[in-house]
């Protein structure tokens, strides 16, 4: 988080960035304000393009595109016949999400390469290979689960819950309970590798 430079004497070389633009370069915004803005974004998306916010459907469509690369005929598959792999609204939304996050990180000077995050390192050690392997497995699990449930944290968690859908509240509460249990097993039952 080295966003402001200081001399070796510890005296700041420059005054704080112009307050009017401070929010633009600040790497972290108040979570309640972010929540309000996400809520307003959901109104806008519902009204302007008549679609809910969602991520996981298009990721699984991208999986179909990967299959096509290996010569698999997705048109003959009962899932990808429905979720067609193509550059549609949902897929471009994912492109936008990545562009927005990258722009935000660059603008706030918080873009940085991370292989092993600090909480992981404290508990399971500094091995990059271990973290990457587990991240891959975790990624596969969330996508399989999201598809079976027909939505993820965006499609069910935010968009579905705000429409008071029974499916989405079931997802939200079950997911949270399962996550709490998993965190308990991972961080309490499994002994920590490094003491800190």
């Amino acid at each position: 988080m080295n966003t402001n430079s200081s001399t070796s004497t510890g005296v700041p070389t420059a005054v704080a960035p112009a307050p009017a633009h401070g929010w633009l370069v600040s790497p972290r915004w108040n979570p309640y304000i972010v929540g309000v803005l996400l809520g307003v974004l959901s109104w806008t998306v519902f009204a302007v393009v008549d679609k809910p916010l969602g991520v996981s459907t298009s990721v699984s469509a991208a999986s179909g595109a990967v299959c096509e690369l290996f010569g698999y005929d997705t048109a003959a598959n009962s899932y990808w016949k429905k979720v067609v792999p193509r550059w549609d609204y949902g897929m471009l939304f994912l492109v936008g999400t990545m562009l927005g996050a990258a722009a935000s990180a660059l603008l706030s000077r918080s873009w940085r390469v991370e292989v092993v995050p600090s909480v992981w390192k404290q508990h399971f050690g500094a091995s990059g290979a271990a973290r990457l392997l587990v991240a891959f497995i975790g990624g596969a699990l969330i996508m399989y689960g999201a598809r079976m449930a027909d939505g993820c944290t965006s499609g069910h968690g935010i968009s579905g819950s705000l429409q008071l859908a029974v499916s989405s509240w079931t997802f939200f509460l079950t997911m949270f309970a399962s996550g709490l249990l998993t965190a308990f097993v991972m961080f309490k039952l499994i002994p920590s590798r490094s003491q800190s």
Binding site: T97, A140, C152, S178, F187
Partner: protein
């Protein structure tokens, strides 16, 4: 201009809306593995604050838009076995990976290599799902399929009551969380 916008202009809007979404995820702090995992360890309440606020504010706005015929609902079917089992698997994956699909992609774009590798895992998970879909569809999604139902219909309570209740619950939860955070600050 007539809404909703469709066709090619909607595709450009997809990038714009996605951009704002990704920016908000990053500035909210949820492109960080530590922030998400610490939510499930009850040590950081950022995820809860963001999601609950988005649900309440979004819910009130969309309900008003819907009331004035400016928005349609898009309800996902309550296939109770599929949703419950899927959500349980998702919860395990979210703590193991440290991200959900949206925050994982966003984090990969901010330099997180493990998020990027997890995104490849997501592609693999989607692939396995696609290949197993006909079985899942037949044996899991059909169990407890209640259709596209909403809480107001099931409980016979109007939308306004539900949204007001959610607002109150959110405020109470936020007050409790603030209290916990203050106590911990004093203890530290």
């Amino acid at each position: 201009m007539t809404l909703p916008i469709t066709g090619t202009p909607a595709l450009w809007l997809a990038i714009v809306f996605g951009f704002i979404f990704g920016l908000l995820l990053h500035r909210g702090g949820v492109t960080s593995y530590d922030v998400i995992v610490n939510q499930f360890r009850l040590r950081d309440f950022t995820v809860l604050k963001i999601m609950f606020t988005a649900i309440v504010i979004g819910g009130i706005g969309v309900a008003v838009l819907h009331g004035f015929n400016h928005a349609n609902y898009h309800i996902k079917p309550a296939n109770m076995l599929g949703v419950t089992l899927g959500a349980a698997i998702f919860g395990v994956g979210m703590v193991v990976y440290g991200y959900c699909p949206g925050t994982g992609l966003a984090a990969a774009a901010t330099g997180s290599i493990h998020a990027l590798v997890g995104a490849l895992g997501m592609l693999a998970g989607g692939l396995v799902y696609g290949l197993s879909f006909s079985w899942v569809n037949q044996h899991i999604l059909s169990v407890g399929a209640l259709g596209k139902i909403r809480l107001p219909e099931v409980t016979h309570l109007p939308d306004a009551v539900w949204l007001a209740a959610l607002l109150v619950i959110a405020l109470v939860v936020f007050a409790i969380v603030t209290r916990i955070e203050r106590t911990r600050q004093h203890a530290a």
